[in-house]
């Protein structure tokens, strides 16, 4: 990858075509290479654009006075507000409150959905029993159940946990059961000929074989659960990042709303990273590159 960098560095010119090709042979631009490597320098240039351009647009809009600062705070004031919230420690309380809700709701969801997904994927009988009803439930938005949950569970912590649970459970089940279908049937067959019982095949072949997919499923779906915590905290919460955002809106503290949203995003990124780390540690054999 690196050795190409020197000759092909001139991205804008090749892309825009400012240099007229001297010979008749036309140089094809590296920029639009389909599914192949590009020079590292070009890649990181694009990465920096992805951060710099929105930041620049935001600064221009706010510092340039194009929008009312009441509705859109400047990057500087958001940063300031963030430091304040870190200094007085309030933000950490909110983070802990939200994280623990997601942790409980999602742990519960994972603990039930993984076995259920494996059962549905492995046994046609279980598929017949559960798949239709779960398929239907999946299309019912968890948020629509909130009134019912309040009636049944109340307004306390359990209600929020139930909402997060509902928001992730059905997708977990579906994706885990799909993972079982990716286990090659010859792998199951050969196991029987090695003397495995059905239970052996389930526990010693299907379970480990699907583990990488299960971890990936959890990684994808915890993002949904983490988003859902805001929805859950609309339900009479007195702490949490969703609650913080709601309060800020009430007092027109848009900078605080921004801080809340950015923190939610960063923590989401952190969770994603942790699951990728977990994948590398638990199922290193499933990493593509040898």
């Amino acid at each position: 990858m690196k050795n190409q960098a020197s000759s092909e560095l001139s991205l804008p010119s090749t892309a825009v075509g400012a240099q007229t090709p001297k010979k008749s042979e036309k140089r094809r631009s590296v920029f639009w290479n389909i599914r192949s490597d590009i020079p590292n320098s070009l890649y990181y240039l694009m990465v920096s654009f992805s951060i710099v351009i929105p930041l620049f647009a935001w600064s221009l809009l706010t510092y340039g006075g194009f929008v009312d600062r009441l509705f859109m705070p400047t990057p500087g004031s958001v940063l300031m507000r963030g430091f304040e919230l870190i200094q007085n420690g309030e933000i950490f309380q909110d983070i802990m409150a939200s994280l623990s809700r997601v942790a409980w709701g999602f742990l519960l969801s994972a603990a039930l959905s993984i076995p259920l997904g494996l059962l549905i994927g492995s046994f046609k009988t279980m598929e017949g029993l559960f798949a239709p009803i779960l398929g239907l439930m999946r299309y019912m938005p968890a948020a629509a159940f909130i009134p019912l949950i309040i009636l049944w569970v109340g307004l306390d912590e359990p209600a929020k946990i139930v909402i997060i649970f509902l928001g992730s459970f059905f997708y977990n089940v579906l994706m885990v059961s799909d993972a079982v279908k990716f286990v090659p049937s010859d792998l199951l067959k050969v196991s029987y000929t090695l003397g495995a019982s059905r239970w052996d095949v389930f526990s010693k072949v299907i379970l480990p074989a699907t583990l990488p997919n299960i971890i990936d499923t959890l990684r994808v779906n915890i993002a949904g659960a983490w988003n859902f915590v805001v929805v859950a905290e609309l339900v009479a919460a007195s702490s949490g990042l969703g609650y913080r955002i709601l309060q800020a809106q009430r007092f027109l503290k848009t900078d605080e709303i921004f801080v809340g949203i950015i923190v939610i995003g960063l923590i989401g990124l952190g969770i994603d990273f942790l699951f990728k780390l977990l994948f590398r540690l638990v199922v290193p054999w499933a990493i593509d590159k040898a």
Partner: protein, 275 residues
């Protein structure tokens, strides 16, 4: 050294290791029953290396799966050492074409898998794993994961894993079908050596006639749609063969004989498809 020929002659007169009597298999389909195997009768003797050849789609895999107990015959019986086969078991080892190593286990752990299921003590397990990993020449790769192995090495691991269970018969379904020609040639010779060294009874399926003639003591030629035993060909090439046997006139003659038998089948299928 291993006196296989005399063993084999002895075995021929005794009961066969594997015996299939009047076996039929049909699959239910949208357009009614599809007869895939019709009136299969065959025997594989102890220490024998037998091959089944046939065009693709003629029911070879179906037959082997039934022998392995992974699939149920519609009628007929399968006897292993005189006892009827019912369901899969470790007495019939199996090697498939592809994707059958446990990717989360090392080479040694893959070979050990069946031994653990059998509840064999860890010291004996280690002994057997060492023995069979040596036979397939992968001692240096004992701790490697399958993803780091070449296709040929993967198949050797799968063969060692099946052998380590010490089954009565080793069943192989086109084990070298996914390999490149060079690797395939090397593994064929390797397979002959393994057979001589372990004195296993082997039943192998292939659509590659040259491979079958090179490896087998006896070949069953399967017809197409439905699969019937069209011919049984003894291969008069002896037990001690190496790659050079492929250049002999006798080899070419036998190969041509089997090819001619198969060609009729292929023509039959093509004319069926056209009409």
């Amino acid at each position: 050294m291993f006196n296989i020929l005399s063993n084999q002659l002895l075995a021929m007169t005794s009961i066969p290791e594997l015996e299939i009597n009047n076996l039929n298999k049909s699959f239910p389909t949208k357009d009614g029953e599809l007869l895939v195997l019709e009136n299969i009768n065959m025997k594989v003797y102890k220490n024998e290396f037998a091959c089944i050849v046939g065009a693709s789609g003629c029911g070879k895999s179906t037959l082997l799966n039934i022998i392995a107990g992974l699939n149920q015959q519609t009628s007929g019986e399968i006897l292993l050492e005189g006892r009827p086969v019912n369901g899969p078991g470790a007495d019939r080892g199996m090697v498939f074409q592809n994707y059958t190593l446990y990717p989360w286990l090392t080479v040694a752990e893959n070979i050990e898998f069946g031994l653990k299921l059998k509840g064999i003590s860890s010291s004996e397990r280690k002994e057997r794993v060492d023995h069979y990993i040596e036979i397939v020449g992968l001692s240096k790769f004992a701790k490697s994961l399958p993803k780091t192995l070449s296709g040929g090495m993967k198949q050797r691991t799968a063969i060692a894993r099946a052998l380590a269970n010490e089954p009565d018969i080793l069943l192989m379904d086109e084990p070298f079908g996914a390999l490149d020609a060079q690797t395939k040639g090397v593994l064929q010779e390797f397979m002959l050596q393994v057979w001589k060294q372990t004195q296993k009874t082997i039943l192998m399926i292939t659509h590659d006639v040259e491979e079958a003639v090179f490896l087998a003591q006896r070949i069953y030629v399967l017809s197409s749609r439905p699969g019937r035993i069209k011919a049984e060909v003894d291969i008069p090439l002896g037990v001690d063969r190496d790659f050079s046997v492929k250049r002999t006139e006798l080899f070419q003659l036998v190969k041509q004989e089997v090819l001619d038998l198969l060609r009729e089948e292929t023509l039959k299928v093509i004319s069926q498809e056209i009409s």
